[in-house]
Each structure stands twice: as structure tokens, then as C-alpha cells.
Symmetry: C2
DNA sequence: ATTGACCCTATAGTATACTTTAGGGTTTAT
DNA sequence: ATAAACCCTAAAGTATACTATAGGGTCAAT
């Protein structure tokens, strides 16, 4: 799969794909005779995951670590993987909690703010977070 | 409240507080006679919100917009606020969804990967996302 | 065979969000 | 009164994550 096709099917820029490769987020693709990159199909999933993880505030460095999770004799032991995934699970729960707080504040604003008879007393996000 | 106290109680750097002020995320604080900034107490909540929103992937620009939500005659109408909060609520739900996907993949890895009799077939995050 | 749509590398430039430095004044405790 | 801890501005520097540019080769269709 050529880089243009890959980039398009994930909805990112070709340059960005090359950048991710340079940063070690994509394993080095095979090359065709002419030197063009030939990506395996699962690069799509890899890039989709990167996109997803970026959206929720993970850095490329963190995403690289997430993608690197695997139990292999010479790399990571079970216990290492368990420890690492537990840390990441905690982080994710933190994020979900924060998002839920912001969500409920926005919901308050959305539903109460402009009800007509309601006073505009929940119309800032900080006020809505408090109540 | 002096900047050092404020920064410390939120757990961020003094310089960062000044930077946020310069970017319009904090309203300009009053000055004491000596020129020192005198922050209102609610700056703490403002900064805590900024911290929270940054953690889940919002940019300073977006955070500024969230902090600016209010219904006022000369600024934003009810409908504008409703529209804006709805867009943000959708974004937040997207983020929560992505996080939940990553979470369940990590949970799979965490619980299945090293069970002993289990094959290491869910030991990469991409594999875990699929199943 | 030539045009347009691809691909390549290498390097420079940009946006965002800080972080550090320089150079200086203020306050608090001893 | 002096040192340590605090505050100020302005400007430069850094890290991250792209994004664009230059200069060139490849491929598919006309």
C-alpha cells in the first residue's frame, strides 16, 4: 500500500505519515523496486490508533509506548506489561473523570442557561462546575 | 493573592501563570502598590479548569473559548451559547468514546496477557482493540 | 513523449505551549 | 542591613508536532 493511499484512508497528511515513521511510531515499511514505501495493511489501524490517542491528549511519545506493549522473551515481561498497563489505565480513568466533569458543566449550561425563566446564573463554565 | 501562592496552590509554574495571562486565559489581575499582581481567589478554579481541560487534549485556544461562555446582552446570545456548548458536548463524547476504546483494549491486555495459560494473543494494543 | 499525479530525501519554517535568561526592584526574617 | 525569597518585564530559547519548500525521480494515460 502506497503512502498516498494510506494517508487518505486514515485522513491524515502524507508528510505526517513520514513524520510518524521517522519518530518510530510506524515500523519501517518495505520498499518497492522504485523506492516507494510499501505499507502493510495494518498500518491503517496503527494510524487510526495514533489519531485516536492524540485526540485525547496523549503525546506521540506516550502513543509510541502504548503501541510498543508486548510480552516477548527479550523485551517485556508479563509483570512489566501489567505494571505499565495499570499506570495507563489509571491515567485514562483520570481523563475520563475530567471529561465527565467538563461534560456535566456544559450540560448544565446547555440546559439551564437559556430556559427563559432561569436566571443566567450557570452561564459560565466555572460556575457550572461548582454547582 | 500573589502569583507564587496561586501557582503553588494549583501546582503549576509562576511563568506559566503569566503566560496564560498574556494569552488571555486569565483576566488581568489587579496590581498592588508595588506592581505585584493581586489575583482574585477564583483564579485558582480557573487554573484548575485549564489544567483539567489541557489534560484531555483541549488547546489553550479552545479552553479560552470554554472559559468565555456566557450569556450577555452585548456578547453571546442564548442560541449562540447553546450551539457552542452542543458542539463541545459532541467533542467531549467523542473523546470519552475514544478513551473507553483504549481503556478496554488495555484492560484486555492487563487481564488476559499474563494469565499463564492464555496465549499472548492480545498483547499488543492493536490486537486488543480488534477483539 | 509529455503532462499530471504520484513518489523520494533533506532541510527549513511554523504553531503551540511553555521555559529560561537577563537585569532589576521588593519584602521578610535575622 | 543584608541575605533569601519573592516580585517585575522583555526577550530569547526549547520541545513537540507538524507543514512547507526545493529539487528531483516514477508512473499512467493521452
Amino acid at each position: 500500500m502506497k503512502i498516498g493511499h494510506l494517508a487518505k484512508s486514515v485522513g491524515i497528511d502524507i508528510q505526517t505519515v513520514r513524520y510518524y515513521e521517522s519518530q518510530g511510531l510506524l515500523t519501517e515499511p518495505n520498499r518497492m523496486e522504485n523506492g516507494y514505501r510499501d505499507f502493510p495493511v495494518d498500518s491503517i489501524k496503527r494510524l487510526q490508533f495514533i489519531k485516536k490517542a492524540k485526540l485525547v491528549g496523549f503525546t506521540l511519545k506516550e502513543i509510541k509506548e502504548l503501541l510498543a506493549i508486548q510480552v516477548t522473551k527479550d523485551k517485556h515481561t508479563c509483570q512489566e506489561v501489567k505494571n505499565f498497563t495499570q499506570i495507563k489505565l489509571d491515567e485514562i480513568n483520570q481523563k475520563i473523570k475530567k471529561l465527565t466533569e467538563i461534560e456535566s458543566a456544559l450540560k448544565k449550561i446547555h440546559s439551564l442557561c437559556c430556559g427563559g425563566s432561569e436566571k443566567a446564573s450557570h452561564c459560565s463554565i466555572l460556575q457550572a462546575l461548582e454547582s
